[in-house]
């Protein structure tokens, strides 16, 4: 399952239960991010228990994108069905600043840096 969103690509791998983000995701507003939100919800429904969001190849994500991921995490927290791991990269600076915030929204989110 693949989604092209602006200059970014999201790929869901059913065997590894992983959504891989690549490129630069800076869509204009939350309405434009709805397709990303739906893609993530569909991916979560496809896994049995654990979902991985691999952001380690996502060079940029704007605040509307951070908001979209945050709302997705809050949604998972409410359902308490899927466990979430987020993978970031030390070599992409914004990720070191912003990804730890996801753990503040839901303490069970695992954040790992490569």
């Amino acid at each position: 399952m693949v989604l092209i969103a602006g200059e970014s690509q999201l790929t869901f791998n059913n065997f590894t239960s992983t959504v891989v983000f690549e490129g630069s995701m800076r869509l204009a507003n939350l309405t434009e991010y709805e397709k990303v939100s739906e893609f993530l919800k569909d991916s979560a429904k496809s896994v049995e228990k654990n979902l991985i969001l691999d952001l380690s190849r996502l060079n940029f994500l704007n605040s509307s994108g951070i908001t979209t991921l945050s709302m997705f995490i809050i949604g998972l927290k409410k359902l308490q069905v899927t466990k979430l791991k987020v993978i970031g990269s030390h070599s992409i600076s914004w990720q070191e600043k912003s990804l730890p915030n996801f753990n503040k929204l839901w303490h069970e989110v695992e954040i790992a840096f490569e």
């Binding site: 602006g6 200059e7 630069s24 800076r26 869509l27 204009a28 507003n29 060079n59 940029f60 704007n62 605040s63 509307s64 951070i66 908001t67 945050s70 709302m71 809050i74 949604g75 070599s91 992409i92 600076s93 914004w94 600043k97 912003s98 915030n101 503040k104 929204l105």
Partner: protein, 184 residues
Amino acid sequence: MNEKIIGQYDLTPENMPAEGSLEVKIQPIDMVTYWKRCSAIADFVARFYNVNEKNHANENLISTVFNEIIENAAKYSTKRDSEIQVDVKLYNTILKIQVQNTCNKFHCETLENRMRILLSEDTDLNELYIQEMEQKANGTKESGIGLLMLLKDFQISLGLKTIDLGSDLYHVIFQVFYLMQEEE
């Protein structure tokens, strides 16, 4: 002429000589009709000020900070017959990003109020982030979190000056002072 100043406006004095200076003028209508231009300018400014080809930490952060500021200016500027003026100056390890534009009273007051909340000593930015994200998830909050995110997670200071031009038109001068990360 009614002027208001909020935050650390003119943290670096206007007459202080800069080590690098870049000026760009763009039209808001060009940005909103082709959104990718926000990102293109952010990446250009970041590359211009990244002097270390082996370390891209500052480049990634400058682009991220700049992109949020220019997206806001593009979204909330008056769209016709107006321009966004960007001035970027480097003072040793401080990068000053100044964005000037015009907007209506509603957007001007919304920005002023947002800045007062974000810069208040009583505001816990981490708590505010969690609170606003939960409100957004419940559909009860519409405004963005760009400035909150920058102030909370990036090493920046913010300053704002607004000038009432009359006829529901306001001149907004927004300043960001970014402390460059030390090169490894």
